[in-house]
Structure formats: C-alpha cells, structure tokens
C-alpha cells in the first residue's frame, strides 16, 4: 500500500512539474520550473510551500563551518515569532552538493539536527537546478578541489506567492529584516 501510494505520488509529481501559474506575480520565483527531491525521496518544486511564507536557503550537509550555523539561525528566527506565525512559516533548505546530498544524507541530517520535516524541507536538485536557484537568490558558490564548497550565505523570505520579500546574510541571530517581513 505504501509503495502504491508512493507511486501515485511520484506520478503526480511527474505529471505536474510545472510550478508556475499564470496568476503568479512577475517577480515570483515560482515561475521557475524546478525539479527538487526532498529527504524522503519525494519530488516537488520550489513552490512546495506555496501559500505560506517560506525561508529559503542554500547549504550542503557535509559542511563543517557555516551550515550548522544556518540551521541555528533559522531556528533563532522562528523563536522570535508568535506561535501562530511560527505555525504558518515554512523552511526550505536546498543543497548545493547534489552528488553527496542524496535523500538519505538529507534524512540523516534532519534526524541529527532534530528537524521537523512537517514544516521544514531539506531538498536536492541537479546541478543545473541548483545553479538557477542560486542565481535567483543571488547566492555565489564554488566547488573547491577539496570537494568542499565556498559559498555566500543568503536566507531569503519568500511571500506566499514566491516573491522575495527580504534577504539576509546574517548568521548567528535573527535578522531584523526577515522578522519585519514575517510579522507583516
């Protein structure tokens, strides 16, 4: 049964990969057709949390430096919100390391960091998808010969329709610009 459900899910995902809707505002990132896969192996688009305010960021799970801090920063941001605001907020973390960040690696990270995957998604996409999403969020990144990545950190707040409302490169504590956007 579970397998059959998964199959139906996958087929739906294949049948409707097109995220964009004509009603999306011109500046919506949801115009981008994006094939992502989450920590459970489920296919979805960048608009997986359409209808909710979403914090989107890029990361990679083997990262020792900034990436643990990114999760901490997202949590710190959530803590500043009211219970109702927090319940409405969603978080989408997209890996820039699709080779190593398989759904299983993402699942392990979610468990290790006690991430609530009901409201948070860890996702991967192919190299071309990651490049395009990074370009939309204005994230710079480069794979180093060591296999690690050098990247700038951006946490963007997307409106329920996918427009960037605020963007932050602050790490370690909640950025006032993101909070202002979230409290609107």
């Amino acid at each position: 049964m579970k397998r059959a459900l998964l199959l139906v899910f996958t087929m739906c995902a294949i049948a409707a990969p097109l995220a964009a809707r004509d009603s999306d505002p011109p500046a919506s990132l949801y115009h981008l057709e994006t094939a992502l896969t989450n920590q459970d192996g489920t296919a979805h688009g960048l608009d997986v949390y359409r209808g909710h305010p979403v914090l989107v960021t890029l990361f990679y799970s083997s990262c020792q430096a900034t990436c643990p801090l990114i999760v901490d920063t997202l949590r710190a941001t959530e803590r500043e919100l009211s219970a109702a605001q927090r319940a409405n907020l969603r978080v989408l973390m997209i890996s820039i390391d699709p080779e190593r960040d398989t759904p299983q690696a993402l699942r392990e990270l979610a468990q290790e960091r006690h991430i609530d995957t009901a409201r948070w998604t860890l996702a991967r996409g192919d190299a071309s998808t990651v490049r395009t999403v990074a370009a939309l969020l204005n994230v710079q990144y480069r794979r180093l010969p060591s296999g690690e990545f050098s990247h700038s950190t951006v946490i963007a707040l997307l409106s329920p329709q996918g427009e960037i409302q605020a963007s932050s490169s602050t790490l370690g504590h909640a950025d006032a610009a993101l909070l202002a956007g979230l409290r609107k």
Partner: protein
Amino acid sequence: MNARAAVVYVALALLAAAALVDPDSARADSSPPRARVGGGTFTTVLPPAKDIKATTVRAFEMDRVPVTNADFARFVAAHPEWRRDRVARVFADAGYLSHWPAPDAPAAGRGRQPVTHVSWFAANAYCESQGARLPTWYEWEMVGAASADKADARADPAWRQSILDWYAKPAAQQLPDVGRNAPNFYGIRDVHGLIWEWVLDLGSMMVSADNREQGDPSVSRFCGSGALSFEEKENYAMLMRIATLSSMQASYSSSTMGFRCAADAGGGP
C-alpha cells in the same frame, strides 16, 4: 544541351538562388556548428583554491560564433515565454531584448549581429533548448587564451596588445556581424573583439577560493573584488572579463553582453 552544360547551368542557377536567400535565414540549422576543444590543464587567472593555480578542463564543444539575433528570434518564436512582453521579470530585467523593434524580431538586417540585451537566465534557456549549456568560465578562459596559431598565446605581448586594442577602441554604433574576426586556434571566432559573454558558473566568479572565510559570520557575504584572488595580473583583458561578469546579476541584460553555447564533447550537456 549536352549533359556537362546542363550540370553547369543547374549549378549556376543554384548559386543565383542561394544569393537571393536572406542572409539572416540562410542557415537552416538554428544552432551554429560547434568546434571541438580538447581538454587540458592550464594556469587560470581564477585559482581554484589557495596554492592551486592550474585547472583541468575536459574536452568540450563550443559554438564557433556567438548566438545571433536571428538565432535568438527563432528561439523566442518556439518558446514565447521568453518574449520580452511575456517573460517573468524575475528572469530578465526591463532591458531584455529592448533593442528589437518588435517583441519577436530584430530590426531588418541585424539578424547576423550577436544577440545582446539577454539575461543569463535567457541565455541558459536558449542553450538548453539546443541540447547544450553555457560554457563554464574555465572553458571560456581556455578558448580565450588562444591566438590564431597557438593554443595558449597569453605570454605573447603582440597578441595581448591586439586584444587590449579592442578595449581601447570606442564602441561602434552598431555591433558588427558575427564571424568577422579570424578564427582562433580552435576554429572559434569572436572570442575577443565583439562582445562580453555569459558563462554557466556566473555565480562562482566572486567567491573566494579560501573556504575558511565562510566560517566567520561577520564576513559571511563575500564582498566584491575584495574576495577575488586574481593571478596573472598582467592579463588585463581576462580580468576585465571577470570584473564585467562579476558586476552582472543573472537577470541583468546589457547592450554588450551576449553568449555562445557549449556542450561536453560527444554531444549532450
């Protein structure tokens, strides 16, 4: 009429017919043929890491000339979501294709000029529609190092000067047609002397090669040229390229930024 005369007559007729064809649409194939570039290792102006100055590029293919207005008009006709009056603003700024008198066509006689006023997103989509991709910076840099007869002419002062002369020349009112510059070592034209070109890994141009810098939260956003670690500082022309690319965001367009496509050797992206 004997057989030989008939052949000559037919050949002449064909030549006459060919001459009447609009040069903009003379090429039936929408993608210009690509040249093969063998892989190799070379010293780059953008070191992959601290203490690593060389980079290795695998064999690839690259368009012999930049994508033209006529090429891009065919793409827009097939993919109307990339018309300037339909494109989502997030993928292209207000200058996108603003040099065309109509949303679906360049001005008459401009078909063979390189297309400019295109965003990185649009260039990317064009190449993907051709089963290709944009060249990476390292691929571009490798091709850009070639003179007419040397794969790496960067140490040749005369060659360097010829490129700098282009920068020194005031921009023409009209961009010349593609293919007017002599082919380089790889048979690729207009690498220098015509336009700037988008690269696939635009988002990596400004990143410091030292990832330790990302650990400090106070400098988590790499700032402009301060983050770049250039090598070969005398290679001014290449640095100009990088500076220009670094100043562009993916939705920007400019009157001098165009592109060409590439593919891994053996076909496919």
